[in-house]
């Protein structure tokens, strides 16, 4: 055995139970090959109904114009862009798990990366809806693309943060899909080779694109995954940085803040991991994957939630401090008189954000709470509510009172169609997710097999006795030289 196979006993196993390679395949493929359960149908139908409501809300908006939403003279973005930033932030956890943790060689990512990456793709799909339908005349949406046109040709403004967003999000979506799918190919090939029914052979035959598992192909796939991870890492940081530029490059007090890029990225990872927890806690239970998505995985992700939540907390305090320290009356007004003031119209939203994002996650300092499934699930929902309010606070409170009191808008609250659009993206997200868990393996089992002999429970026990051997004996007995 290779020396690299050895992993310390201090690390808990990532695959629980006595498994061999075939057992891993069986466990992960079972829910895909079985008929959908009643629970699946209920969830799927609710999602599709939500999606239909969303489509109807968007239909109202397209037919009658953006006036269907309660946006007013100073509140131009409202719920729409709040939801956009919220969804795009959620996507970030998937890329963090699949790319950044791959570069850091974190073995635990293998259990959760497939589902998290799928979540990324669906979240970006949802996010993309908001700026597109917000355009109002959506049939002219292609104007944002630099194509030769009869208006000059008039090119889009490449100096604008909103155009950067177009490029950032479409690139992010494309690269995420490629990364996810290239990792999915070997697992789909397994499903294809196991397939008994005709339609399965056809479907997985097409989607597995002729994968055989040749050593040369694996070598290329690993090289591809590594480079894509290297590309995705700066990409994911750039995406939320650019989203934050939508605000930071303006001169609106409350938006005009240099700490926005790192603060947004931390917040994105924070909310994304919360969504991963929400999804995986249910998925592992329903699909019986508790031995692959273990309590260890949940513990580690809760630590990340605690860390990023605290970073976000420091960013909130920094904003308040800088607003005071700048001695700029407009900044002071935006932060102290509007946001942190419980008596202001949106003060409740600010304190809701503060408690959900900064205060409550501190519970995860306690190990017992990190490993408690009910607490984790509850907190994951709380965090996402908090992060939604963060975007709402930034977007609405900064503009609802303009410089001149005469330009102060009326209290902004959404119409049913704005809410419907938001619910509709939940429908889109969960419809996609339900289809994904039905037709594709939720756990990247080729990767699980790869770490099985290093981090699997039964194999780790075998290794316990090796801990007592001296380094030299160990190398002589168990090492091999890779045929150099």
């Amino acid at each position: 055995m290779s020396l690299l196979r050895y992993e310390s006993q201090v690390r808990p196993p990532l695959v629980v139970g006595d498994k061999d390679y075939h057992q891993v395949t069986e466990d992960v493929c079972r829910p895909v090959e079985a008929r959908p359960t009643k629970l699946w149908w209920i969830g799927f139908i609710i999602s599709v109904l939500l999606l239909c409501f969303g489509i109807f809300s968007v239909y109202r908006e397209v037919t009658y114009g953006v006036g269907q939403w309660n946006l007013n003279r100073t509140n131009g973005w409202g719920w729409d862009i709040t939801n956009f930033v919220w969804w795009i932030g959620i996507g970030h956890a998937g890329t963090l798990i699949s790319a950044i943790l791959l570069l850091f060689r974190q073995g635990w990512r293998t259990g959760v990366n497939r589902a998290a990456e799928a979540m990324t793709i669906f979240a970006v799909m949802c996010a993309g809806q908001f700026p597109i339908w917000h355009m109002g005349r959506v049939w002219d949406a292609f104007f944002v693309l630099p194509y030769p046109n009869t208006r000059g040709p008039l090119w889009p403004n490449f100096n604008s943060a909103l155009l950067w967003d177009v490029f950032a999000i479409s690139t992010y979506f494309t690269v995420s899909v490629l990364f996810w799918y290239s990792g999915l190919i070997p697992d789909v090939a397994t499903l294809r080779d196991r397939a008994k029914k005709k339609w399965r052979k056809l479907f997985y035959g097409i989607t597995a694109v002729g994968w055989t598992g040749s050593t040369k192909h694996w070598q290329r796939l690993e090289a591809l995954a590594l480079v894509l991870a290297g590309l995705s890492t700066p990409l994911v940081l750039s995406v939320h940085t650019i989203v934050s530029f939508d605000f930071a490059t303006s001169v609106v007090p409350g938006w005009h803040t240099t700490i926005f890029p790192p603060y947004f990225v931390a917040g994105a990872v924070f909310s994304g991991f919360a969504m991963v927890q929400t999804l995986l806690l249910v998925t592992r239970k329903v699909l019986n994957l508790e031995e692959y998505i273990t309590i260890e995985h949940i513990d580690v992700m809760n630590k990340i939630i605690l860390l990023t939540g605290s970073i976000v907390g420091i960013a909130y305090l920094t904003e308040l401090f800088v607003a005071w320290y700048s001695a700029n009356p407009y900044e002071n007004f935006a932060f102290w008189d509007t946001r942190a003031n419980l008596n202001s119209p949106y003060g409740w939203a600010y304190y809701c954000m503060m408690s959900c994002n900064v205060l409550f996650p501190q519970i995860f300092w306690i190990r017992k709470m990190r490993r408690n499934l009910l607490v984790t699930f509850f907190m994951s929902v709380i965090v996402n509510i908090g992060m939604w309010f963060e975007r709402f606070v930034i977007i609405v409170t900064s503009v609802h009172r303009d410089y001149l009191p005469s330009a102060w808008g009326p209290y902004y609250s959404p119409t049913i169609w704005e809410v419907g659009f938001y619910l509709g993206t939940f429908g889109l997200f969960f419809t996609c997710y339900f289809l994904f868990v039905k037709f594709f393996p939720v756990v990247a089992f080729a990767e699980i097999k790869h770490i099985l002999k290093k981090s699997g429970e039964s194999y780790k026990n075998n290794m316990a006795e090796l801990e007592h051997e001296s380094m030299e004996d160990f190398a002589n007995i168990h090492g091999h030289d890779h045929g150099a």
Binding site: M1, T25, G152, L178, S182, T212, S214, K453
Partner: protein, 196 residues
């Protein structure tokens, strides 16, 4: 299109596979391929495969993206239709960095995946012959290519002595063809015994 004769052996443990690969190569056999359900680090080296240069392709695609973005934006905003934004210079490089970066990543990722699929012959409706369906589940399947000089019986017993199970002689197509996995029909004629 070439149907060739192979001797295949299945291994269920990497610890047996690695020494076997070494022995097989030392004996002078030609390993056609080893099909594994997951990537086994070091197997490519053990088989004597050279490193992939896919990342070089990625780099070339990447700088193509950089050049495309910078070249196009420069042309559009300084030559084709310069617009005065608050008296700022037409050539405002810092503001173009986000898009330049995104296009670098986009070109590199799309190009690499395309090259990967090209090299490995992966596409929907591509069909290839399989030596053992369990090679995507739990077996490492080694396929040795037979030549005129290969003695079947000797090779089989040699593979068995190295720990291979289910050793067989198989005639397999080495190229890919267009086809569907729910249908066995092949576009070429199967010539079984005559071909070596």
């Amino acid at each position: 299109m070439a149907v060739k004769k192979f001797i295949t052996g299945c291994f269920d443990d990497e610890a047996v596979l690695f020494p076997a690969v070494k022995q097989v190569r030392r004996k002078g056999y030609k390993i056609h391929d080893i099909f594994t359900p997951f990537p086994i680090h070091g197997l490519d080296k053990a088989m004597g495969l050279r490193d992939t240069s896919l990342h070089v392709a990625g780099f070339i695609y990447g700088i193509t993206g950089t050049a495309t973005a910078l070249g196009f934006i420069t042309w559009a905003l300084t030559y084709d239709w310069p617009i005065n934004f608050g008296g700022k210079p037409f050539f405002s490089l810092p503001a173009w960095i986000p898009i330049t970066f995104e296009l670098t990543v986009l070109f590199s990722a799309v190009g690499m995946v395309w090259t990967f699929c090209w090299l490995c012959q992966l596409a929907p409706f591509v069909k290839k012959d399989h030596f053992n369906p369990r090679s995507t589940d739990d077996l490492f399947v080694m396929a040795l290519e037979c030549t005129d000089k290969t003695s079947e019986a000797e090779s089989i017993s040699f593979l068995q002595s190295l720990g291979a199970k289910d050793v067989q002689v198989q005639h397999k197509e080495t190229e890919w063809w267009w086809g569907r996995y729910d249908k066995d029909r092949k576009v070429f004629e199967q010539k079984d015994e005559k071909v070596h």
